[in-house]
Symmetry: C2
Subunit: 390 residues, 2 copies
C-alpha cells in the first residue's frame, strides 16, 4: 500500500520526518476529537495535526494530485477521507498515521461528502460527470449516479442523502440511498446558469448554489422540495462593472453569523451581508481584496477572511455586529485556508509560500504556534464529522 | 483507585459484566467521536457506550451518589468528567474504561462545565455555595469562588469563562479565568426571584435563567454585558392557575429549532413556542404531561419531549414547523433523558424502570437497539465537547 508513515508519539521536529512503517501496537492510545489534516498540495501528502498541544503528529504521503483537495471524517473521528483532484479517494487512519485504503474512482473529481450515518462516502466528479458512492468501511462501490454534467457543490443532507449541482445542465439533484436499496433521485431543473458551487446551511435545511452565468443565487428549502428553486440576491453585483475574477470564492466558507450571512462578492473587494431569514441584502463590508473564504468563528461574533492573488498575504477579521475590520494579519504570500477549532478559541491558517501553518488565539490575537508544512492548503479538523454540510 | 473496570473489546452480553483491572496495553485503539456515557443512578456507575455499532463497551463503578449527575468531556473526547450530587468529580478514561482520577470537592453539587480551551473544569455547588474550578489534566484546584448562595445553571461561555445563577441572591455571575491570573468576576444583580436553572444559547451569546419565584425569565446578552438583564416572557403562565409541579423542567434541554425556541411550561401540559430573536411568545403546543426535557433534533425539524411523574412513560415527537405531535412512544416508566447523536440520525432514550436504553432512527422511528442498563438516567455523548454550553 502506498504512502504509509508511522504516527509519531511526539510532535515532529521542525522540518524532519520519520519514515517507515510502524508496528500497529506502537500507535498511541488517544482521543480523536482534537485531530485534523493539513493538505500539502504540491507533495501529495497530508500532515496529521492535533489542536491541544498544537503539534504535527505525522505525515502520510502518496495521495496523488491534491490540488483543490478536501476531506471528510468518519463519525468516530478515527479516519479521514481525502478527495484528490485526480479522482483518488484515500482513507487515512489518523491514529496509525497510514493509508488504510486507497482507490482511484474517476478521472477528475472535485470534493466529496459523508452521509449522516457515516456509512457512505460520495465523490463528485467532472470526468465522467456524476457522483459515485462508496461504503466508508471498505471503499467498495455502493452507487454510481451519472449526470452528463460536471458535478460541483456536493454536500451531505440529513437522511443518508447528498445534494449537488450540475454545472452545464443548470440543475440541482438530491440522491438519498436507503440501506440495501437503489438511490432515490430528485431533480431541480432551471436553477440558473452555471452553478459553480453550493453549500448547505448549518441546520441542513437550505441548499444555496452560486451561479457563474448570472447575477444571483439559487436556494432550495429541503423541508419543502415541492416548492422548487427560489432565486435570491438577484443583481447583487456579479454582473455590475465586474473586476477580473482571480479566484472563485468558496461557498463552503460562507459565514452564517447570528442573523446574518457573510458572502464573498465575486470579483469585488467586498463581503455581502445578507439576512439569514429572507436572503435580502443588508449591507456590504469593504475588505482588502477579493475574498475567497469568509468563515464565522463558531460563536458568530467574528468573520475571518482571506483573499485572492495578488492580495493573498493578508487575513482580515470583521466584527459581525459593527461590521468593522477589527484586525489584519500579514502572514506571507498564499494564505490558502483557515479553520476554527469547534469551540472557536483557536484559528488555524495555512500560508503556502511560507511553508507554515499559523495558529492564533481568536480573542487576544496572540500567535499560539507556527508549524512547518510543505506548501499547505486546506486545513480540515476531524470535528467536522459532527456537523451537517461539511 | 476506586471503581476500575476493564474496557471490553466487544459489547457486553446482556446483564453480564466483566470485572477486574485490565492491563493498559489491551485497551482498543479506536476513535472517540462516537463514545458516550450513560449514568446508572442507583448503582453509582456509568456505562461507556458507542453509537456506531450501538453497544455498551464497559461499566465504571464507584462514582458515589449519581442522582442528578451530569458529565462533560475533554476536547479530545477521551475523558469524561462526571459530576455527582455528593460533590464527587470523577475523571473517566473512556478508552481504558477506568477512573483516571476522582476527588470529592464539596458537600453537595449540581453540575459542571468545561472551558472552551478544555483546560478548566468548573463545578457548581449548593454546600458550600459557589463554584470551584480545577485543571482538567490533574483535577488540581485552580480557583474557588464562594457566592453565599446555592449555584445553579452553570455553563461555559467563550473565553475561558463560566456563567451561573445564585438561587437565594437572585443574581447571575460570570467568571473568566485568564491563564495564570485570578478570576475576573462580573455580577448581574436583581435578575429576578429564585433563578433555578439556566442555559447558554447554541452560539454562546445569550444566557437564559428560569425563575422559580416569579412568572418570567431573565436574559443576558454576553456581547453586551453593560446592558444588564432583560426580563422576557413575563406572565407566560408560571403563576396562572398553576398545576402542581412534579419535577422542575431542565432548561439545558430547551430546544432551539430554526427561528423558534421550544420551552417546557412549568407545571403545565404545554410547550411554549418562543421567537428566537425577541423572545416573544408565538404559540403553545399541547403535550402528554408536564414536559421535562424538550430537545431539538440537530436539524431543528423535530422536538422530542419527555414528561414528569406520573406520566413519565411516554416520549412525544413534535414537528417544529406544523407544531403537531407526529409520533408517541410508550417505553415504560421513568423515561429520564434523551440525547441525539450529533448529526441527528439517532436518538438514545433512557428508561429507568425498564433498565434499558432504547435507540431509535429519528426518520423511520424504527428501534435500532435496546441496551440493558441499571436504572439509567442521563445519557451524555462525547461530541458535547465540540459545543458551547453543554
Amino acid at each position: 500500500m502506498a504512502g504509509r508513515r508511522n504516527l509519531l508519539l511526539t510532535g515532529l521536529a521542525a522540518g524532519t520526518l520519520a519514515g517507515g512503517a510502524a508496528p500497529a501496537a506502537t500507535a498511541e492510545l488517544r482521543g480523536t476529537g482534537d485531530l485534523g489534516l493539513v493538505v500539502e498540495r504540491a507533495s501529495g501528502s497530508v500532515l496529521i495535526v492535533e489542536t491541544t498541544g498544537r503539534t504535527a503528529l505525522g505525515r502520510v504521503t502518496g495521495l496523488g494530485d491534491l490540488s483543490h483537495a478536501s476531506a471528510v471524517f468518519s463519525r468516530d473521528g478515527r479516519y479521514g477521507f481525502v478527495f484528490g483532484r485526480d479522482g483518488g479517494l484515500t482513507k487515512i487512519d489518523l491514529l496509525r498515521g497510514e493509508v488504510a485504503r486507497r482507490i482511484v474512482q474517476a478521472g477528475n473529481s472535485i470534493g466529496g461528502a459523508i452521509s449522516d450515518d457515516g456509512r457512505l462516502v460520495a465523490v463528485g466528479n467532472y470526468e465522467p460527470g456524476g457522483i459515485r458512492v462508496f461504503g466508508s468501511a471498505t471503499l467498495d462501490p455502493v452507487a454510481d449516479i451519472p449526470t452528463g454534467s460536471k458535478v460541483v457543490g456536493l454536500s451531505d443532507i440529513p437522511g443518508r442523502g447528498f445534494i449537488f449541482s450540475l454545472f452545464e445542465a443548470g440543475e440541482v439533484w438530491t440522491a438519498t440511498i436507503p440501506e440495501g436499496g437503489p438511490p432515490e433521485i430528485r431533480r431541480f431543473r432551471d436553477v440558473g446558469r452555471q452553478p459553480y458551487d453550493g453549500f448547505v446551511t448549518p441546520d441542513g435545511r437550505h441548499y444555496i448554489a452560486g451561479l457563474f452565468g448570472e447575477d444571483g443565487l439559487a436556494r432550495i428549502d429541503l423541508w419543502h422540495p415541492e416548492r422548487g428553486v427560489q432565486r435570491v440576491l438577484p443583481g447583487y453585483g456579479r454582473g455590475e462593472e465586474p473586476l477580473p475574477v482571480f479566484k472563485m470564492p468558496h461557498l463552503r466558507g460562507w459565514a452564517v453569523a447570528g442573523e446574518q450571512v457573510f458572502l464573498p462578492a465575486i470579483g469585488r473587494h467586498e463581503l455581502l451581508v445578507v439576512d439569514r431569514r429572507d436572503w435580502t441584502e443588508r449591507g456590504r463590508v469593504a475588505v482588502h481584496g477579493q475574498p475567497v473564504f469568509a468563515v464565522a468563528r463558531p460563536d458568530g461574533r467574528q468573520v475571518w477572511v482571506n483573499f485572492a492573488h495578488p492580495r493573498n498575504d493578508v487575513v482580515q477579521v470583521v466584527d459581525a455586529e459593527s461590521l468593522a475590520v477589527v484586525r489584519a494579519f500579514t502572514l506571507g504570500r498564499g494564505v490558502m485556508h483557515l479553520e476554527f477549532t469547534p469551540r472557536g478559541e483557536q484559528v488555524w491558517i495555512s500560508v503556502r509560500d511560507a511553508n507554515r501553518v499559523e495558529v492564533f488565539d481568536t480573542r487576544s490575537f496572540a500567535r499560539l504556534a507556527s508549524l512547518p508544512a510543505e506548501a499547505p492548503s486546506g486545513i480540515l479538523l476531524a470535528a467536522r464529522a459532527q456537523r451537517v454540510g461539511f
